[in-house]
Amino acid sequence: MLTKTSTRVFGLFIGLILVSLLVWASIVLGLTKITTQMVIDSFTDFDQSNEHYIIQDARIPRALIAAAVGSSLAIAGAIMQGLTKNPLASPSIFGVNAGASFFVVLGVSFFGVTSITGFTWLAFAGAAIAAVVVYMLGSVGTDGLTPVKLTLAGAAIAALFSSMTQGILTLDERALDQVLFWLAGAVQGRDLELLNGVLPYFIVGWVVSLFIGKKMNVLTMGEDVAVGLGQKTWLVKVIGAVVIVLLAGGSVAIAGPIGFVGLIIPHVARWFVGYDYRWLIPYSALLGAILLISADIGARYIIMPAEVPIGVMTAFIGAPFFIYIARRGINE
């Protein structure tokens, strides 16, 4: 673990370099042979060759989307784990992704929504509703909000939303075709416009998340302690929840539901910087980007020339990790 502030800053610096390197790798690696020189030329001296179009229209968008979505999901996961004191909390396990997907499908199917803005707001609404319902369900009963109850509530709500999504899709095949695109979960073939549409919300989410680190530290010491120290705990929770909704909902709007990133990354970040949220959140952001870009690069090589869906990649990486954490045990 990195303890000294200077090494932590240095770590962040290394992380940034790694992300940049991976973005570069993501642009260069793949089916079409691309060289660094071509990448530079595609900016300075665009010659309308296939390579230049692929760089500009395919590689760069997917690299940037993977970076943005990876960071956002990881930050959302870190905040969720902090607020719920549950090491297994994450947007996919808690049904937030499923809720966002369900609302997108509902909007397309019944209200004919087709615009990117429409998708984004539907995804936000779905994420918010799922988060609230899961939180309420998880805190039913005398022993309050326990990790197991929360996980089960999340799984139940996720199952409910996905089966309702399936129901609508079976009844309305038109929506099925339009929405399958979103349900698959991918950073490939997505337009940069999608990212631009969601970027303002992401930026709000990222910036706010960096500033609530200290408050989160107090809150994780326990509700009583936090109140004793004069913290308005409800306010921190509400802000945290809004950030989660913005980041997780925005991610679904761009890339569809991608699981496990928000679950694994905060744990990895904790190996580096422990439980200090002021550091945990930026580290999660960088590591999330690293994971998703790497997974996306890997996805191109496994069954080349076809690609593995990125949701499958993250599930393969994430599931063993999830089981490891679950086996190690969590406090009930």
Binding site: D57, A58, D177
Partner: protein, 336 residues
């Protein structure tokens, strides 16, 4: 005081329900037998087709079926089967809904007036079929194997073995099942002659070695069609060439990304878009054909790109579609 308990009662009643059900089930077999004899009697009393009332036996994927007399009320459970019947001048009483169109494909809808929808190929409405009182059912083992017993209980049923690109395999069986092998052979011969004619004309025009590429846009996928597909087999029959990457004996390349766009190139590109009711697959098509990468393809730059009907070139997969596809090829390749 009661001495009994809820559990015992529950088990007892359940057992009772199942005993009743089992009776119902076993009665049923007897009843089928009588059902069929009834059918025979009707046929005999019918008097309208005495010459054809001899029985004939068809061997198929799920055994042998004996059909008494010329079938008059046919229910067909595959979409290519519907086209086969129409091509022999038979209108079925019931058919499964077309994959696109409401409820029938455009190219058959004028011949399908009054035909009842009996569900989808993979989700049959058995009661509807029974209600139509057919005297022959044409089914497919891959789609309807599980319902074989029930279909047989309604009427004699003939099962095709496979579902694949080559429509002629199942066509012969259908012709045999409706006891119209001669008429069926005629349709096949006509088709064969058209294929040969087109092949000759193309050769004369020096265009038989044109490399034909086929691309399909779907709302959730983009595919490049290879040789073992409905349209791939027809191109092969004519003897048209294919781009190297498509000259492969399998079905299609699925999940194609923009990076593989070069595989779409050829001397001529035919593309078709699966666009079930509405404008949805259209969005994918628009995105691709407006992409600069698409515009960089040599076929596109030379203007040898044609949009054709997805129903005809892929989805329908029947004899009428095959003939219409020949029309398309003739028109587009020999127009200049």
């Amino acid at each position: 005081m009661f001495k009994t308990n809820a559990w015992k009662l529950a088990l007892l009643l359940l057992a009772l329900v199942f005993a009743l059900a089992a009776c119902g089930g076993s009665d049923d077999t007897d009843e089928n037998a009588s059902d069929q004899t009834d059918g025979d009697q009707n046929e005999e009393q019918g008097e309208e087709s005495d010459e054809e009332s001899e029985s004939y036996t068809v061997e198929h994927a799920m055994g042998e079926t004996t059909i008494e007399g010329q079938p008059e009320r046919i229910v067909v459970l595959t979409n290519h089967g519907t086209e086969a019947l129409l091509s022999m001048g038979i209108t079925p009483v019931g058919a499964v809904q077309s994959w696109t169109g409401d409820p029938w494909y455009d190219h058959i809808s004028d011949q399908m007036e009054g035909v009842e929808v009996v569900g989808l190929e993979h989700q049959l409405n058995l009661e509807k079929i029974a209600e139509l009182e057919p005297d022959l059912i044409l089914a497919n083992k891959m789609r309807q194997e599980e319902q074989a017993d029930k279909l047989k209980a309604i009427a004699p049923t003939v099962f095709e073995e496979t579902l694949r690109g080559d429509w002629k395999i199942n066509y012969e069986l259908i012709a045999e099942a409706v006891n119209m092998e001669e008429k069926g052979q005629e349709v096949l011969d006509d088709y064969q002659k058209r294929v040969e004619d087109l092949s000759t004309k193309l050769e004369e025009a020096g265009k038989l070695d044109t490399k034909v590429s086929m691309v399909r846009f779907m709302p959730s996928d983009v595919r490049i069609y290879h040789k073992d597909s409905f349209s791939g087999i027809i191109l092969d029959e004519i003897g048209l060439a294919r781009p190297e990457s498509q000259d492969v004996d399998d079905f299609a390349a699925k999940g194609v990304t923009k990076e593989r766009i070069n595989e779409m190139d050829g001397d001529v590109i035919f593309y078709f878009t699966y666009d079930p009711e509405g404008e949805d697959g259209q969005a994918v098509e628009d995105e691709w054909i407006n992409d600069p990468l698409w515009k960089n393809l040599s076929a596109v730059q030379e203007g040898n790109v044609y949009e054709v009907s997805d129903t005809i070139w892929n989805t329908a997969g029947g004899v009428k579609a095959a003939n219409l596809m020949l029309d398309d090829l003739e028109e587009k390749l020999l127009s200049e």
